[in-house]
Protein backbone atom coordinates (compact mmCIF):
# COMPACT_ATOMS: atom_id res chain seq x y z
CA UNK A 1 0.00 0.00 0.00
CA UNK A 2 1.01 3.59 -0.58
CA UNK A 3 2.10 5.56 2.49
CA UNK A 4 2.21 9.38 2.49
CA UNK A 5 5.18 11.01 4.22
CA UNK A 6 5.41 14.59 5.45
CA UNK A 7 7.89 17.13 6.75
CA UNK A 8 11.09 15.82 8.30
CA UNK A 9 10.02 12.21 7.67
CA UNK A 10 9.64 12.85 3.94
CA UNK A 11 13.03 14.53 4.09
CA UNK A 12 14.64 11.53 5.83
CA UNK A 13 13.06 9.10 3.35
CA UNK A 14 13.91 11.28 0.37
CA UNK A 15 10.33 10.84 -0.90
CA UNK A 16 6.82 12.06 -0.08
CA UNK A 17 5.27 8.63 -0.67
CA UNK A 18 6.58 5.06 -0.43
CA UNK A 19 5.11 1.62 -1.12
CA UNK A 20 4.91 -0.65 1.94
CA UNK A 21 3.29 -4.08 2.27
CA UNK A 22 1.42 -4.31 5.58
CA UNK A 23 -1.82 -5.99 6.64
CA UNK A 24 -2.09 -4.17 9.97
CA UNK A 25 -0.99 -0.99 11.67
CA UNK A 26 1.54 -2.79 13.88
CA UNK A 27 3.04 -4.50 10.84
CA UNK A 28 3.22 -1.11 9.11
CA UNK A 29 5.08 0.36 12.10
CA UNK A 30 7.70 -2.39 11.92
CA UNK A 31 8.16 -2.01 8.16
CA UNK A 32 8.39 1.79 8.38
CA UNK A 33 11.25 1.64 10.88
CA UNK A 34 13.12 -0.66 8.46
CA UNK A 35 12.45 1.62 5.49
CA UNK A 36 12.99 5.10 6.93
CA UNK A 37 16.42 5.61 8.51
CA UNK A 38 16.26 7.24 11.93
CA UNK A 39 12.48 6.86 12.28
CA UNK A 40 12.84 4.73 15.42
CA UNK A 41 14.20 7.71 17.35
CA UNK A 42 11.75 10.25 15.90
CA UNK A 43 8.42 11.43 17.22
CA UNK A 44 5.60 10.72 14.78
CA UNK A 45 1.97 9.67 14.44
CA UNK A 46 0.20 7.51 11.88
CA UNK A 47 -3.08 8.62 10.34
CA UNK A 48 -5.48 6.12 8.80
CA UNK A 49 -8.06 7.75 6.54
CA UNK A 50 -7.07 11.16 7.89
CA UNK A 51 -7.40 10.31 11.59
CA UNK A 52 -4.55 9.62 13.98
CA UNK A 53 -4.79 5.99 15.15
CA UNK A 54 -2.78 4.55 18.03
CA UNK A 55 -4.13 1.02 18.54
CA UNK A 56 -3.39 -1.79 16.14
CA UNK A 57 -5.98 -2.35 13.39
CA UNK A 58 -6.19 -4.56 10.29
CA UNK A 59 -5.90 -2.95 6.84
CA UNK A 60 -8.11 -3.80 3.87
CA UNK A 61 -5.57 -2.22 1.55
CA UNK A 62 -7.80 0.71 0.55
CA UNK A 63 -6.88 2.93 3.51
CA UNK A 64 -5.18 6.27 3.09
CA UNK A 65 -2.10 6.00 5.33
CA UNK A 66 0.11 8.92 6.35
CA UNK A 67 3.13 9.27 8.63
CA UNK A 68 3.08 12.61 10.45
CA UNK A 69 5.97 14.30 12.26
CA UNK A 70 5.17 16.85 15.02
CA UNK A 71 2.73 19.58 13.95
CA UNK A 72 3.97 23.13 13.51
CA UNK A 73 0.99 25.15 12.26
CA UNK A 74 0.26 28.71 13.29
Amino acid sequence: MQVLLFGMIAEKAGADRIQVDASSLDQLRTRLVERVEGLATMSYAIAVDRRVVQQDMPFTGTEEIAVLPPFAGG
Partner: protein, 151 residues
Protein backbone atom coordinates in the same frame (compact mmCIF):
# COMPACT_ATOMS: atom_id res chain seq x y z
CA UNK B 1 -23.60 34.77 5.62
CA UNK B 2 -26.11 32.06 6.51
CA UNK B 3 -25.57 29.50 9.26
CA UNK B 4 -25.28 26.83 6.56
CA UNK B 5 -22.69 28.88 4.74
CA UNK B 6 -20.72 29.41 7.95
CA UNK B 7 -20.51 25.64 8.45
CA UNK B 8 -19.71 24.55 4.90
CA UNK B 9 -16.48 22.73 4.14
CA UNK B 10 -13.66 25.05 3.19
CA UNK B 11 -10.00 24.98 2.26
CA UNK B 12 -8.09 26.99 4.85
CA UNK B 13 -4.84 27.01 2.86
CA UNK B 14 -3.49 29.89 0.82
CA UNK B 15 -0.25 29.93 -1.17
CA UNK B 16 2.23 32.42 0.29
CA UNK B 17 1.89 35.02 3.01
CA UNK B 18 -1.45 36.48 4.15
CA UNK B 19 -1.60 40.10 2.97
CA UNK B 20 -2.83 42.79 5.38
CA UNK B 21 -5.26 43.88 2.63
CA UNK B 22 -6.81 40.39 2.69
CA UNK B 23 -7.50 40.94 6.41
CA UNK B 24 -9.12 44.35 5.91
CA UNK B 25 -11.23 43.01 3.02
CA UNK B 26 -12.37 40.22 5.31
CA UNK B 27 -13.28 42.71 8.06
CA UNK B 28 -15.08 45.03 5.61
CA UNK B 29 -17.36 42.19 4.42
CA UNK B 30 -18.94 42.08 7.89
CA UNK B 31 -20.26 45.67 7.74
CA UNK B 32 -23.60 44.41 6.42
CA UNK B 33 -24.09 42.17 9.49
CA UNK B 34 -25.81 44.51 11.94
CA UNK B 35 -26.07 41.88 14.68
CA UNK B 36 -22.27 41.79 15.10
CA UNK B 37 -20.87 43.86 17.98
CA UNK B 38 -17.41 42.33 18.32
CA UNK B 39 -14.66 40.93 16.13
CA UNK B 40 -11.64 39.12 17.53
CA UNK B 41 -8.63 38.37 15.33
CA UNK B 42 -5.46 36.36 15.85
CA UNK B 43 -2.55 36.70 13.42
CA UNK B 44 0.57 34.55 13.40
CA UNK B 45 3.71 36.27 12.11
CA UNK B 46 6.97 34.51 11.26
CA UNK B 47 9.70 35.36 13.80
CA UNK B 48 13.39 35.65 13.00
CA UNK B 49 14.29 33.40 15.97
CA UNK B 50 17.95 32.70 16.76
CA UNK B 51 18.45 28.92 17.00
CA UNK B 52 21.91 27.60 17.83
CA UNK B 53 23.54 30.81 16.63
CA UNK B 54 21.69 30.91 13.31
CA UNK B 55 18.81 33.22 12.41
CA UNK B 56 15.49 32.07 10.89
CA UNK B 57 14.82 34.03 7.70
CA UNK B 58 11.70 32.12 6.61
CA UNK B 59 9.45 29.14 7.37
CA UNK B 60 8.41 26.82 4.57
CA UNK B 61 4.99 25.41 5.40
CA UNK B 62 3.64 22.15 4.02
CA UNK B 63 0.51 20.28 5.10
CA UNK B 64 -1.49 17.12 4.79
CA UNK B 65 -4.24 19.33 3.44
CA UNK B 66 -7.13 16.85 3.24
CA UNK B 67 -6.69 15.82 6.87
CA UNK B 68 -6.10 19.41 8.01
CA UNK B 69 -9.33 20.61 6.38
CA UNK B 70 -11.29 17.73 7.92
CA UNK B 71 -9.86 18.59 11.36
CA UNK B 72 -10.72 22.24 10.77
CA UNK B 73 -14.32 21.33 9.94
CA UNK B 74 -14.52 19.46 13.26
CA UNK B 75 -12.98 22.36 15.23
CA UNK B 76 -15.36 24.79 13.49
CA UNK B 77 -18.37 22.68 14.51
CA UNK B 78 -17.14 22.43 18.09
CA UNK B 79 -16.73 26.22 18.21
CA UNK B 80 -20.19 27.00 16.79
CA UNK B 81 -21.74 24.54 19.27
CA UNK B 82 -19.87 26.04 22.22
CA UNK B 83 -20.34 29.72 21.30
CA UNK B 84 -23.82 29.89 19.74
CA UNK B 85 -23.73 33.69 19.53
CA UNK B 86 -20.70 33.52 17.26
CA UNK B 87 -21.98 34.55 13.83
CA UNK B 88 -18.88 33.93 11.67
CA UNK B 89 -15.56 32.11 11.88
CA UNK B 90 -12.82 32.33 9.28
CA UNK B 91 -9.45 30.56 9.38
CA UNK B 92 -6.63 30.79 6.84
CA UNK B 93 -3.12 29.31 6.91
CA UNK B 94 -0.22 29.83 4.53
CA UNK B 95 1.66 27.20 2.53
CA UNK B 96 5.08 27.71 0.94
CA UNK B 97 7.94 29.95 2.00
CA UNK B 98 6.86 32.74 4.39
CA UNK B 99 9.56 35.26 5.29
CA UNK B 100 10.20 36.66 8.78
CA UNK B 101 7.78 39.54 9.37
CA UNK B 102 5.12 38.08 7.07
CA UNK B 103 1.78 36.70 8.25
CA UNK B 104 1.09 32.95 8.04
CA UNK B 105 -2.06 32.37 10.13
CA UNK B 106 -5.35 34.28 10.42
CA UNK B 107 -8.20 33.39 12.81
CA UNK B 108 -11.24 35.69 12.75
CA UNK B 109 -14.41 35.29 14.84
CA UNK B 110 -17.38 37.65 15.08
CA UNK B 111 -20.19 37.64 17.63
CA UNK B 112 -22.88 39.77 19.18
CA UNK B 113 -20.78 40.31 22.31
CA UNK B 114 -17.03 40.22 22.83
CA UNK B 115 -16.75 37.31 25.27
CA UNK B 116 -17.90 34.73 22.70
CA UNK B 117 -15.62 36.03 19.93
CA UNK B 118 -12.66 36.20 22.32
CA UNK B 119 -13.08 32.66 23.68
CA UNK B 120 -13.72 31.21 20.23
CA UNK B 121 -10.54 32.72 18.75
CA UNK B 122 -8.46 31.44 21.68
CA UNK B 123 -9.94 27.94 21.33
CA UNK B 124 -9.66 27.75 17.56
CA UNK B 125 -6.10 29.13 17.51
CA UNK B 126 -4.94 26.57 20.10
CA UNK B 127 -6.76 23.63 18.49
CA UNK B 128 -5.42 24.42 15.00
CA UNK B 129 -1.88 24.41 16.38
CA UNK B 130 -2.51 21.09 18.16
CA UNK B 131 -4.63 19.13 15.70
CA UNK B 132 -3.85 20.23 12.13
CA UNK B 133 -1.08 18.33 10.30
CA UNK B 134 0.91 21.37 9.20
CA UNK B 135 4.71 21.20 9.03
CA UNK B 136 7.22 24.02 9.16
CA UNK B 137 10.81 24.06 7.96
CA UNK B 138 12.69 26.94 9.59
CA UNK B 139 15.21 28.15 7.03
CA UNK B 140 18.32 29.93 8.31
CA UNK B 141 19.84 33.03 6.73
CA UNK B 142 23.24 31.35 7.20
CA UNK B 143 22.09 28.21 5.34
CA UNK B 144 20.57 24.97 6.60
CA UNK B 145 17.25 24.41 8.38
CA UNK B 146 15.49 22.83 11.35
CA UNK B 147 11.95 21.50 11.64
CA UNK B 148 9.59 23.55 13.79
CA UNK B 149 7.54 21.77 16.48
CA UNK B 150 4.56 23.16 18.38
CA UNK B 151 5.09 22.28 22.03
Amino acid sequence: MSEVNAHRKRDIFVEGAIAPSFISDSIAKHATRHDIGAHEIFLGQVRADMIGGRSVEAIEYTAYADMANEQMTAIREEAFARWPQMTCLHVHHSLGVIKAGELCFFVFASATHRQQAREAVAYVTDEVKKRLPIFGKEIFAEGGHVWKTNS
